[in-house]
């Protein structure tokens, strides 16, 4: 005992959640915050669709509409989709690789709190009455100091900068975790597909987010300190912003979709009771998509006037991405082929994903053809395309993942009847909303329009689209009801509730104990848990004897550091240097404390493990 004589710090209730460094709890925090922002972004979407329900509608004004579309895009991408992915990453990755936590638990907590306060900062713009309105792409000069007066775009810049720190920390953390913390025997080519995609996504984050950071800093300097990066009056260049934004922005698309690919691979394979078809080609395709993802940013700028050589090259490079993506699609189909397919809600979302994502993918190839893109660009066709990819791809993937891993995260199964109702309303609503938008674009309706004149042939399809949006809203509400119902019901969930689990997370209790694995497992093959079950083993072979387990201490510092950054952001925006400096002092002070006072964590002794320490 003497060797491990650290005091065991434990908090209860709210304090537990504010100080936790446990990846499972941080996953739940990400889910709560991401879910909250998803609802906010969804309400903004519904207001957009109400406004566009009929021509020359006056439900909201022109200014408000631009604010809504900007906040809808920014919120959904940065504050809803990414955090919900981070939720699943946190909840699942350490379990899938047989680890007791992530590589840097303190950073993990810091990442969550910076994301959260960045998101809060962006959204208090609604209450400050100064909302960003230049689109989620924030193109200059519209977002610059000359034409974007007021503090709207400042909220965008500061909010994303602070939230971006969290994302970057998460990327670094999960890269380090997957490289270093895999259980004995789990070579790279034995990693589950979801782990692979998160590994590649983390690498994408590490390379792509710095570009956004630089862009945001440059625009912040333009706005706050009269720099001239993008101010054309003083020799700045607006196309430069477009390049910087899309050098980040296109990999961001893959940051979002690759994890969905991973989720679908797990779900489809589990519920068809079959090994993932062409595992190694799936891995290779993922790496290739990520690599090509950095080579295609200028296809967002075909109409910016880059010239035929650039447009031609980026056309071809973009089309190439279809090849590895196609490989994935057919691999999923042939995973199902010959399988024994069970239609759970998770699998419905997984199967619904495949044709839906193919539709989003093929319009992507169409958009890749630069001369045709001159017609599609910035029309509703593009709106349809990226919603097919992001909602039909990513959000379906997240719903699949949530239904699939819910028992592991919360120790409760979601109700299947309500789940299926969620799927069908959301699925039908989705296609109703976005399918017609392809045609609206082809018929000449530009995107980001606050209203449209009658007699242009846009009226009926816009109405259909708005009805579909409400159906998606119904699907989301049913899901929330499902969450409440399942939370209210006391139930015990088996370790492997789907009975066909294949990866390590299904070999431990639901929800897992604080330390995940009492003994680290020995991984003897791909689909390790499935293969042990086939051999008749009831648990994974251990790779170590039972012994005291080293745990990281909880800490309140990440929360305080993020509050410091939040205050500093507000201070810079409103030119209150005292507040800005005070905020930074708080943040750096916490960093100082963290660096100077070592915290070696604590140990959970074997006798305590017997009692079962639950998260």
């Amino acid at each position: 005992m003497a060797a491990h004589a650290h005091t065991v710090k434990r908090y209860r209730g709210l304090m537990d959640w504010l100080t936790t460094v446990d990846h499972k709890k941080i996953g739940i925090l990400y889910l709560l915050a991401g879910g909250l922002f998803f609802i906010v972004g969804g309400l903004e979407a519904l207001m957009i669709r109400i406004q566009l329900m009929k021509p020359m509608n006056d439900f909201v004004g022109a200014d408000t509409f631009n604010e809504l579309l900007t906040m809808h895009g920014t919120t959904m991408i940065f504050l809803a989709a990414m955090p919900m992915l981070f939720a699943l990453m946190n909840a699942v990755i350490p379990l899938q690789i047989g680890a007791r936590d992530v590589a840097f638990p303190f950073l993990n907590s810091l990442g969550f709190w910076t994301f959260f306060f960045g998101g809060v900062l962006l959204n208090i713009s609604w209450f400050a009455g100064d909302v960003p309105a230049a689109g989620w792409t924030s193109y200059v000069p519209l977002a610059g100091p000359t034409y974007g007066s007021g503090h709207g775009v400042d909220y965008y810049l500061m909010g994303l900068q602070i939230a971006g720190i969290g994302t970057l920390l998460g990327g670094i953390n999960f890269m380090a975790t997957i490289i270093n913390m895999r259980a004995p025997g789990m070579s790279f080519m034995r990693m589950p597909m979801f782990t692979w995609t998160i590994f590649i996504t983390s690498a994408l984050i590490v390379f792509a987010f710095p570009a956004l950071t630089v862009g945001l800093v440059a625009l912040t300097f333009d706005r706050l300190f009269h720099a001239n990066f993008f101010e054309t009056g003083s020799g700045g260049n607006t196309v430069l912003w477009e390049h910087i934004f899309w050098v980040f922005g296109h990999p961001e698309v893959y940051i979002l979709i690759l994890p969905a690919f991973g989720i679908i691979s797990e779900v489809v394979s589990t519920f068809s009771r079959k090994r993932l078809f062409g595992y190694s080609s799936m891995v290779f395709a993922t790496v290739l998509i990520a690599f090509l993802g950095f080579m295609v940013w200028a296809h967002h700028m075909f109409t910016a006037g880059l010239g035929p050589v650039a447009n031609g090259l980026f056309s071809i490079a973009t089309m190439l991405i279809a090849v590895p993506t196609g490989v994935k699609i057919f691999n999923w189909l042939f995973t199902l082929w010959g399988g024994s397919i069970r239609f759970t809600t998770a699998n419905l979302f997984g199967i619904g994903f495949i044709p839906t994502f193919v539709m989003g993918g093929v319009t992507g190839v169409m958009l890749a053809s630069a001369p045709a893109d001159f017609q599609y660009h910035d029309s509703y066709f593009v709106v349809a395309h990226f919603h097919y990819v992001i909602v039909g791809g990513l959000i379906f993937g997240i719903f699949a993942g949530l239904h699939y891993w819910w028992p592991k995260m919360f120790g409760r199964l979601l109700n299947e009847t309500l789940g299926k109702l969620t799927f069908w309303t959301f699925f039908i609503g989705f296609h109703l909303t976005f399918f017609v938008q392809h045609f609206l674009g082809l018929l000449g309706m530009p995107r980001r329009v606050w209203t449209y004149l009658p007699n242009q042939g846009f009226d009926t399809m816009n109405l259909v689209s708005s009805i579909g949006a409400f159906l998606m809203g119904v699907g989301t509400i049913v899901f929330l009801i499902n969450v409440v119902v399942s939370a209210a019901k006391k139930q015990r969930v088996a370790d492997d509730p789907w009975e066909d689990g294949r990866s390590l997370e299904w070999s431990i209790p639901s929800p897992p104990p604080e330390y995940n694995f009492k003994q680290l497992p020995l991984v003897r093959s791909y689909d390790a848990w499935w293969n042990e079950k086939q051999k008749g083993n009831a648990e994974m072979p251990p790779a170590e004897p039972v012994g005291p387990i080293h745990m990281p201490s909880p800490s309140i510092l990440p929360l305080i550091m993020s509050i410091g950054l939040f205050a500093a952001g507000l201070g810079f925006m409103y030119d209150k240097l005292i507040v800005a400096i005070a905020g930074l002092v708080v943040t750096f002070g916490c960093m100082f404390l963290r660096s100077v006072f070592d915290d070696h964590g604590f140990h959970i002794e074997p006798e305590e493990q017997e009692k079962g320490v639950h998260a």
Binding site: Y139, P308, S340, I341, P371, G444, P446
Partner: protein, 340 residues
Amino acid sequence: MKRLLPLMAGVVLLLSACGREDLSTLNPQGPVAQKQFDLMTLSISIMALVVIIVFAICIYVLIRFRRRKGDKSVPKQVEGNHTLEIIWTVIPIILLLILGVPTINTVFGLAKDYSKDPNAVQVTVTSHQYWWEFEYPEYGIKTAQELVVPTGKKIQFTLASADVTHAFWIPSIGGKIDTNAGTGTTNKLFLEFPKEGVFKGKCAELCGPSHSLMDFKAKAVSQASFDRWVAAMKAPAVLPEDSKIKDALENKCLSCHAIGENNAGSSAPNLTGIGSRQTIGGILYNDEPGKSVESNIKEWVTDTQKVKPGNMMPNAGELGLTQEELDGIAKYLADYKLDY
């Protein structure tokens, strides 16, 4: 390729004649839009083929391999299949080649520059929040909101923006291009208008509150008519006879706007011959029942922010226009028609 042809024919049939002749990209009215439409049908056909195959396999699999109740059997755990995997890698590459070659061809074809071509008509487009300025440097004339071009000639546009980024788009004539602000990012685009008619033009890049209302018209007329239009634009402007109205016009309108040679370096839309335009402000149609040029001008000037939120023009009250002056100016402008 042979298998694609019937599919393509079907797609063309399905898509063509979709939407308005003066607005839809699916109803091309010029060679540029036609080339783009051809690429669109080619890519839609290939993609429809892919979608059909995936849907077919998907539906087959879901019906054939669904789990029966109580089925505990374990299917064969297949690792992969090299032949199949090579097939679905190679076939997409071939399909992309079929699409890639004409794409590259058209990319360069549509990037031709007719700036030095004496037979082409040169137009300098300057976009403003939220209106379009068209200058014809060869003729020394400027107009706004309504582009007038001769049929049968190449029209070479040189485009830039006076404020934020906009995008110039006439869907049924040809795809769009951004108008950038600042030096060194001027863009070029050529279009052709084989048929006479008025085509709708739009701004396609978010440029502020009234982005959605930043419409313009492209009017294609015969060469003779175009020549008459140029001559009429260059003729000395006739100002109102009533000196009170003339004073009000000169002091309260022409401080920003231009009419003919009056205030040629203007910062607001050129009003020469506004009476013959199809719309006021790009969106108030003069030919709608109960509307006229005069009533639309009054509606616009009385409350400009109501028609186009966020635009730069002060309304009648801010300008200090009396009702009498407003009526007089509206009537004068409505009667200012060009004969062409």
